[in-house]
């Protein structure tokens, strides 16, 4: 196992180098003089010159890239042109917000998606089965930003039961400890605040969860059906075990492996979808951080934001790969 982890980490090196190169190229690929483009037509000669030096644009590209890598290794992600703060110092609250939202979404997606599949497989060809599959089919085709707006319109504006935007009640801000507000309110023991934080999570969380949920439901149905028809499930049933026990204790364990792959793949979609969801719901996450940086042509933030998200995505996929072995002991890493 350790050998396998080592090999996988080694294989990651060229991918990570390639990723940094693509991200490095973002500024260099701007047509014309990047410093001029970033600062606009009105900028003075001195300002442009200063920015060129700051971005290292006067050196040959390979030296620039090497410097960039050297910076990354020492934790230097560049400095925001807008706030004049090092990216590494200001990125965590945004990142924590996105991680909290994505985890919430994936938990909803897995719980509802898998249970829908179990009931569907249990009552195959029933009205529930058909309904669940039709909803799943529509769910896959749903533009997340439209779903977000519909959620906002129905539940915030029409019914008034959930907040429209933000992450907390601005008049009663959360005392930030970890950056994950659910945890922070639990640490503070403030259940009123916890309820507010959870309410803020519901709309963006369900919007973000819909597509992964639909995909989980569609992809696991066949593996669940297969497991339900297998001999050991029949044996367990004939032993007199209740259907509930058979499904949740025996069948689910074996049907879960393809679900893991899907969750791994969905994290990319989720992190990408977070940019759209965060824009709609005013969620102060990394997607919004990047999005706002684009508006200000804050290229160091765009670069580092994209690199961070891509890095997380790659690491999640690695983690999911390693998790297979724990869930399914038949898989051996040689």
């Amino acid at each position: 196992m350790l050998h396998y982890i080592g090999r996988r980490l080694l294989q990651l090196i060229p991918v990570l180098l390639g990723m940094t190169f693509i991200v490095f190229m973002i500024i260099r690929a701007i047509p014309g003089d990047p410093a001029q483009v970033i600062l606009g037509q009105q900028a003075s000669e001195e300002a442009i010159k200063a920015l060129r030096t700051n971005l290292g644009l006067d050196n040959p590209w390979y030296i620039q890239y090497f410097d960039y890598l050297k910076g990354l290794v020492t934790g230097d992600l560049g400095e925001s042109l807008r706030t004049r703060t090092p990216v590494v110092d200001e990125v965590w609250p945004y990142l924590a917000a996105t991680i909290e939202l994505s985890l919430f979404a994936i938990i909803i997606a897995v719980i509802i998606g898998i249970n829908a599949v179990i009931i569907s497989a249990w009552f195959q060809n029933s009205w529930f089965d058909y309904l669940a599959m039709i909803i799943a089919l529509i769910g896959v085709s749903m533009p997340i930003f439209w779903l977000g707006l519909m959620n906002q319109w129905i539940f915030s504006i029409e019914l008034g039961i959930l907040p429209t935007t933000g992450r907390e009640n601005v008049r009663d801000p959360v005392d930030v400890i970890t950056g994950f507000y659910v945890i922070d309110t639990l640490i503070a023991g403030d259940f009123n605040q916890l309820s507010t934080v959870l309410k803020h999570l519901v709309l963006p969380g369900t919007a973000l969860a819909t597509i992964p949920m639909a995909i989980i439901a569609r992809m696991t149905r066949s593996s669940m059906l297969e497991v339900m028809r297998s001999d050991y499930v029949r044996t367990a049933r004939s032993k007199g075990l209740s259907m509930f026990w058979v499904v949740y204790k025996h069948a689910l364990k074996n049907a879960i492996i393809p679900v893991l792959t899907i969750i791994g793949l969905q994290m990319g979609l989720l992190l990408g979808g977070a940019i759209l969801t965060e824009t709609i719901f005013g969620w102060p996450g990394i997607g919004r951080y990047i999005y706002e940086a684009i508006g200000f042509r804050d290229y160091p933030v765009i670069q580092s934001g994209i690199l961070i998200v891509a890095f997380i995505f790659v690491m999640i996929n690695l983690f999911v790969d390693l998790l297979y072995g724990l869930v399914d002991p038949r898989i051996k890493y040689d």
Partner: protein
């Protein structure tokens, strides 16, 4: 006697349908797939002929009729400039399908070239191309699209280029794996043995035989491309005002959710239905063309 036998044999041969006819037969069997194709054809016809039939011009403003709810004169209501939403949604079909098709054609062409080169020549060519694909796939796709547009500048054309670029590795990998399996087939060996040149083998044998999965993947990719283009439009990185692009229309509707939700509902339904159509059709095609991919 011999003549009847030959005639019978010819009749038998005619009965055996070609692969495309067989695929069509399989495709027709799935009602869901046929519904999907119906939706796609409807939107294609809408994109071609719709703008000729719309009640108003797409940018025709009528400020006295701002944000009017759906009525007999404006079936989908009007937006904040008093423009007819139905007319704009219909014209939006042209933009979305255009972007969807062009972006996917772009990815298929570039992906096929790279995939064939990697699969057929192998060695360092394969290593370089495959590693580039790996790196591109390591980014969440919409993020890569945003990166490309942030460099090229926001516009519909640049959004199209970005979407085409991010989908290249999907097709490239698909073709590469197909080429790897085909190139060991006997007919390729025989083509090589009779001295056929590489480029002729690639164009007249390997390419046509790799097409089935590309058609399936392409149909599904159009659905994704339409959503991605709308997403970029929604973020203000794709089509710009006053274009009636669906994503852009949704972005504009955000300020009027409280008093004019119809400005948001109809463009969204249009995106969802188009994407649903392509998804259903793609699923049907997959089952018909490539039974091994059947889930």
């Amino acid at each position: 006697m011999a003549e009847t036998a030959i005639k019978q044999e010819q009749a038998e041969m005619q009965k055996v349908a070609g692969p495309w006819k067989e695929a069509w037969r399989g495709f027709r069997k799935s009602k869901v797939a046929v519904v999907g194709m119906g939706i796609v054809i409807f939107f294609i016809l809408l994109a071609i002929f719709g703008p000729l039939l719309t009640p108003q011009g797409i940018n025709e403003q009528n400020l006295s009729q701002r944000l009017m709810p759906p009525s007999s004169s404006n079936w989908m209501g009007t937006d904040d400039f008093g423009r007819d939403i139905l007319s704009r949604v219909v014209y939006g079909a042209r933009i979305s399908l255009w972007v969807g098709f062009l972006a996917v054609i772009g990815s298929v062409v570039v992906g096929s070239i790279l995939g064939i080169l990697a699969g057929y020549y192998g060695r360092w060519v394969d290593t370089i191309i495959s590693r580039i694909f790996d790196i591109m796939l390591a980014f969440p796709s919409i993020l890569l699209a945003i990166a490309v547009v942030s460099v090229l500048g926001p516009s519909l054309r640049n959004a199209l280029i970005a979407i085409a670029i991010i989908n290249v590795p999907n097709f490239g990998r698909l073709i590469r794996s197909k080429v790897l399996s085909i190139k060991e087939d006997e007919y390729i060996m025989s083509a090589k043995a009779i001295g056929m040149k590489d480029n002729r083998i690639l164009v007249s044998h390997i390419l046509p035989n790799s097409m089935a999965p590309v058609i399936v993947q392409g149909t599904l990719a159009i659905a994704t491309a339409i959503i991605e283009a709308a997403a970029l439009g929604f973020l203000g990185l794709g089509a710009q005002a006053p274009s009636p692009e669906w994503g852009k229309m949704l972005a504009d509707s955000r300020s009027y959710l409280t008093n004019a939700p119809w400005t948001m509902i109809f463009p969204g339904v249009a995106i969802m239905l188009t994407v649903l159509g392509f998804n259903l059709m793609g699923d049907g095609l997959r089952d018909a063309l490539d039974p091994r991919m059947k889930s």
